[in-house]
Symmetry: C2
């Protein structure tokens, strides 16, 4: 008779934490799936789904053109064969050239390790830094998946509470968390979920603090700059390139948002020469990628990016949604910092509790994400990467909700 199991519940056949992470969904996915189910009942046009941060503008035409030309013109073994573990030299060169041109840097192709999007780059950086008792600091509000990425790759997550006035950084709180175990501070600007861009002044102050603290503790404290929204900015706002302000920076990037290709999963970790122990840190990141079985990112996407790294998105639709929603919601009495980046609006729940507000909104088929998982429970996030028509039709519901609350 074959063993038919059932030990997990009482003993330890699987790793409990992995099981739980694979069993649970974050609040965004839960709401999103609720929306799909409800849409099947009430009709798609009657659901106002502001949950998901999924690009809603098509990829630039150049992306498909590049992919088709690669498929038609290159020989099969070159298109579909293994790339080097760290990625094709031509792809990494195109990325370095693009950044150097924009930021006056001197990056070389071998500062880059190509990955399947920014998340694997982030996780590999965490793994590389996960020495005994390592701590990594995040600044609220923060992308909810940072928690498993940090905690399950060997580091302790420490959180700086949100600056709910301007969504910059509460430096006193940050300073009190920095200690000899601090390996890195995560910076995500333009920010998900706040839509705010850290100013040059904020970043310079951060660099000054980390430089001083690195000297105090006797080792570099890195910035992990998670920058998938780098090119999504409005009103001509500057997004400083962090390595030019603080050399001990590991950049994690994805083309998901910029080129509307989140499904294609292409990004990189960049360790500039100026970072402390640059070459060794790069190798530790490469080793961390290797032990997850994730080297040699998909070749067709790499070949496409070698041809498309310089393309920029047409942000008109996001910008229009951003303006319309910000103006309308604040005119109704909602409080929000005007977002100048990414594709989110982060709004104070008018009843003071975003979870309750989200439930109220859900009854009206309006889906917004409560800020709890972002470390900021009095705010909710509304994505602006949505259909402009849906934005227009949703405004009366936003108005109705705040009027209900304010009686």
């Amino acid at each position: 008779m074959l063993y038919t199991g059932g030990q997990r519940k009482d003993s330890t056949m699987f790793v409990k934490e992995m099981y739980e992470l694979g069993s649970t969904k974050n609040s965004i996915m839960e709401l999103f799936e609720y929306g799909l189910e409800k849409a099947a009942v009430v009709g798609r046009e009657n659901i106002y789904d502001f949950c998901i941060g999924n690009p809603s503008i098509p990829a630039p035409a150049g992306l498909n053109e590049a992919m088709i030309s690669v498929l038609k013109e290159m020989d099969s073994l070159s298109v579909h064969g293994y790339t080097p573990a760290a990625g094709l030299v031509e792809t990494r060169k195109a990325i370095a050239d693009d950044l150097n041109e924009r930021y006056g840097t001197s990056l070389r192709y071998d500062n880059f390790y190509i990955t399947c999007g920014a998340a694997p780059a982030f996780c590999a950086a965490v793994s590389a830094l996960a020495v005994e008792n390592a701590e990594i600091i995040v600044i609220a509000p923060f992308f909810n998946e940072y928690r498993p990425y940090i905690e399950k790759n060997g580091c302790k997550l420490q959180m700086v509470p949100a600056d709910t006035e301007n969504f910059q950084i509460r430096f006193d709180d940050l300073e009190s968390l920095l200690n000899k175990n601090t390996q890195a501070v995560v910076v995500n600007s333009p920010n998900n979920p706040s839509g705010v861009v850290y100013t040059r002044e904020t970043l310079e102050k951060l660099a000054e603090l980390l430089t001083r603290k690195s000297e105090e503790v006797g080792h570099p404290i890195y910035i992990i700059a998670d920058e998938p929204y780098r090119e999504l900015v409005y009103d001509g706002v500057e997004v400083p390139f962090i390595p030019t302000i603080y050399p001990n920076t590991i950049v994690c990037y994805s083309y998901s948002k910029c080129l509307s290709m989140p499904g294609e999963r292409l990004g990189y970790a960049c360790v500039p020469d100026q970072a402390a122990d640059s070459a060794d840190l790069y190798k530790a990141i490469a080793g961390a990628a290797r032990v997850t079985g994730h080297i040699c990112a998909p070749s067709l996407q790499q070949l496409a990016i070698a041809r498309c790294a310089h393309l920029r998105p047409d942000l008109e639709m996001y910008d229009r949604n951003r303006k319309v929603m910000y103006e309308a919601l604040t005119s109704y009495g909602y409080e929000s910092t005007r977002p100048t980046g990414a594709f989110y609006l982060f709004v104070k729940a008018p009843n003071g509790n975003a979870k309750e507000f989200s439930e109220m909104a859900k009854k009206e088929n309006l889906l917004v994400v409560p800020g709890d998982d972002f470390g900021c429970p009095s705010f909710f996030r509304a994505s602006t990467c949505v259909n402009p028509d849906m934005v227009d039709r949703s405004l009366p519901i936003f108005k109705k909700l705040i009027d209900q609350i304010n009686g």
Copy 2:
């Protein structure tokens, strides 16, 4: 003054193991890169490179056709948008249908978790099983990357020595390694590097042993079936589908070899319903994938496999190389088990030491991989996924080498 670092050598800024894994290359990559350098000096036609297991036949025409049609016909947001974490339902259905048709199984789409090739599926399975003191057994000769995949994802690697007569399984040695900490046994058939396919008899004996031992230790001992070479077989040899023989099997697969698309990185972990605690194990694998940042495998590759899962390779070139090399080398006096799968020939070093033999061969610009890293140091591996012309031109060198040794 900015901190300019340098603590790693004396203290612990990075994880030492990750640094080392990112700093070192395995013997295959070292030889391969040596070959490229030497080719630049002596000419590509004068290097006889049998190191790399990289498909040398083009992908079936259907693959490019499917990709181009997806790019031309589907709308951008559907092609390039995020897929579900576990992969597109249509892709998983196509994979299930193909296997069900061939093996009479009843797999459903939700038994599959799509990954970037077999390696990430393997690593996620290891992570999911990595409870305290977990051990995973590999059978020599084995793919060299199993060691970091197992050891750096929380398990202890135990090795069954090679059966150098037939390259099946030394069951007495396997049985002596099985204990209450054993979570899984890795089966890789058709085998890299031996090119041997495990017979149905071998697999049935393995199933009987693991069933008995699972009962003894009180929990299931899984098989992790790493099957990237499943369709690469010759002489009409049968490759039994292991879940039909032993239900507690996790299948890891990649389309890399079968469809000559190693660079595109598409594969899956499959947990059949019949496996003990199937649904929970699947979730633990999903959680393990999530914490490396690797969910939602690349969409274009998924869309292509939804259309191409039924395609099979034209193996004529591999088969021809296999026959020519096996016949020639054994006629010169080399000893080898006739391979019937994959694209490798595993040959006893005529001087008894494959590392020394590989060095001797290197002086003649003939590159073969010593078996040390495969756990079988008296054999060398020669890939047959190479140019037939190179095979023909290399034969006199193989002859010269054995004649030198035999005086």
